[in-house]
């Protein structure tokens, strides 16, 4: 079955210039393999669509049951340049929680 990401993971997001980083952390380490399989850089890039103008990179932190995503050119120029209400991408991590993953019970 499909479940939204928020059922199995939590996120925190921030910025480095025009790049947003989203840390995704599983609540239960048994779900980490599923996260690795389901939450690819390609899927995250497709999910955000026009929000992310550049590439999406993924890094693995198995010790924390976490993935770190870098969303390049995702903040309208970033920092002081951006005209957005959220120039530092603090809410992008929450947006990702909507993405649906295949979950096998």
């Amino acid at each position: 079955m499909k479940v939204p990401l928020w059922k199995i993971a939590h996120t925190r997001s921030g910025d480095k210039g025009d790049t947003s980083n989203i840390g995704v952390i599983v609540y239960d380490s048994k779900d980490y393999p599923l996260l690795l399989k389901e939450l690819t850089a390609e899927r995250v890039k497709a999910f955000f669509g026009e929000i992310v103008k550049g590439k999406v990179e993924r890094f693995e932190l198995p010790n924390l049951g976490a993935l770190n995503f870098l969303l390049h050119e995702a903040l309208g120029g970033g920092g002081t340049v951006s005209l957005r209400i959220d120039p530092q991408g603090k809410t992008l991590g929450a947006a990702l929680l909507k993405l649906e993953v295949h979950y096998n019970i």
């Binding site: 939590h10 890094f59 693995e60 932190l61 010790n63 924390l64 049951g65 002081t80 340049v81």
Partner: protein
């Protein structure tokens, strides 16, 4: 074991936090992080208008408030409050707290050396875009090197009560007392990495103790009285993250994980001035209520370059808003946006960007937001241009819609929005040998 607390995650953080950290339990070192990426340029502008400014002005009154207690209990303060004018900051501290000895770490300010660096062939390309610094040379407003923990440790060795730096790197503030107390060497990579990770965990204040935390946020206790983070550091590089008992918030491995991931790039290459830390080696363990033990951290040799924080003038911007109410709140706001854009075009004004958000409908999450019929929507239009006059004219184009646009516009109480100069951040590298820190003591 030594206790290192952080009482300020940025300039503007809670004024009571450092006082409470001192009053509510034991600490040995109080770190205070005042500087964000563009803070240096704001401070540089302040120094241009008044040579006695250019530092975090909250800092001297804070030291005045806590002076008696830190002397009684021998608590040492380490802060990057000096900004672009540590000397003026130190003098201001001495004026309001004459019994306090202040050691300054100087040498991070390289604004006057940019041409020298360019002449030596350092391109100082923008680490994000790859562009060459010479393309913005005339617009540079400030330039500072992120300096490491060893100069701060040297300042601690003078015995001063307050260690005051300019652009010391955030994690270095917490690493410095470990180097000072435990005698760690400059090539002690694993332990330097551990101290840098400890600094990263506490540098954003309460983001390590339950603030801005998604996990069970409704049940995190008493955020009104949230405790700021404390690291209990051991000589072997292991440490416990905690907070004073009786304070609000929560310290748990889930919370610490969120902060470890905050503003992280490649986890195997967390680059600090003093080492490179590998975040994939961090081991967390919940060892008691509000206690997380951190161990296993591995590091590698420090980078050959130091990072520069350069800021430069980059045009003008303004953001204006109008509120439209139900019914058809979003449709009205969209209609008003079309009218404003039409008029800007008719006026022949050109902008690098016009960006519209419908606050209440899609501002944070754009097309990912679910469709809804909100009771009100705020139209939020921003423009950006090299041409200040174009931006200024834009700020006059929203309010007329109260009478001439879709029905039910309000929320224009503050009148025309201000035109702001954009100061952009330019991260770059120089060889570390170019940056020589020095220590000066007042008092």
């Amino acid at each position: 074991m030594i206790r290192i607390a952080n009482g300020q995650g940025f300039w503007g953080d809670w004024l009571e936090a450092p006082v409470r950290l001192i009053e509510q339990g034991p600490i040995d070192y109080l770190t205070l992080d005042y500087l964000a990426e563009v803070t240096m340029s704001i401070l540089q502008k302040q120094r241009q208008t008044d040579p006695n400014l250019g530092y975090a002005r909250d800092f001297p009154p804070l030291i005045s408030r806590i002076a008696k207690r830190i002397l009684e209990r021998n608590i040492r303060v380490i802060a990057n409050a000096g900004g672009v004018n540590p000397i003026a900051c130190a003098e201001a501290v001495r004026k309001v707290a004459p019994g306090i000895r202040v050691a300054m770490v100087l040498g991070d300010d390289v604004l006057h050396r940019i041409d020298e660096f360019l002449a030596k062939g350092y391109e100082m390309r923008n680490l994000d875009t790859g562009a060459q610094l010479k393309t913005i040379r005339e617009r540079i407003q400030s330039a500072n090197a992120y300096t490491g923990a060893f100069p701060l440790a040297e300042a601690l060795a003078t015995g001063a009560h307050v260690i005051l730096a300019g652009r010391a790197a955030d994690p270095a503030l917490a690493l410095a007392p470990m180097i000072h107390e435990f005698g760690w060497g400059a090539d002690d990579w694993n332990r330097l990495a551990a101290g840098s990770v400890a600094g990263h965990i506490i540098e954003c204040g309460t983001q390590a103790t339950g603030g801005n935390c998604q996990v069970d946020w409704q049940n995190i206790p008493d955020l009104a009285n949230i405790g700021y983070p404390i690291v209990e550091a051991e000589p072997d590089g292991t440490f416990v993250v905690t907070k004073h008992s009786g304070t609000g918030g929560r310290v748990h491995s889930d919370v610490v994980k969120e902060q470890l991931l905050y503003e992280l790039g490649d986890p195997k290459n967390f680059i600090a001035p003093d080492c490179i830390a590998d975040f994939t080696t961090i081991h967390l363990e919940d060892v008691g209520p509000d206690r997380v033990r951190v161990s296993g951290i591995e590091g590698r040799e420090r980078p050959t370059n130091l990072k520069l924080s350069i800021s430069y003038a980059n045009g003008w911007k303004a953001i204006g808003t109008l509120v439209f109410s139900w019914p058809q709140a979003l449709q009205k706001a969209q209609a008003a946006d079309r009218i404003v854009r039409n008029r800007l075009e008719t006026l022949g004004l050109s902008f690098d960007e016009i960006h519209t958000e419908f606050f209440g409908a899609n501002a944070c999450h754009a097309h990912l937001a679910a469709p809804s019929d909100p009771p009100e929507v705020q139209l939020r239009i921003g423009v950006r241009s090299e041409n200040r006059k174009a931006v200024d004219r834009f700020t006059r184009e929203l309010i007329p819609l109260v009478l001439s646009g879709p029905p039910g516009a309000t929320g224009y109480g503050d009148g025309r929005p201000p035109v702001r100069e954009i100061v952009s951040y330019w991260p770059a590298l120089v060889p570390r040998e170019e940056i020589k820190s020095s220590i000066e003591v007042l008092g």
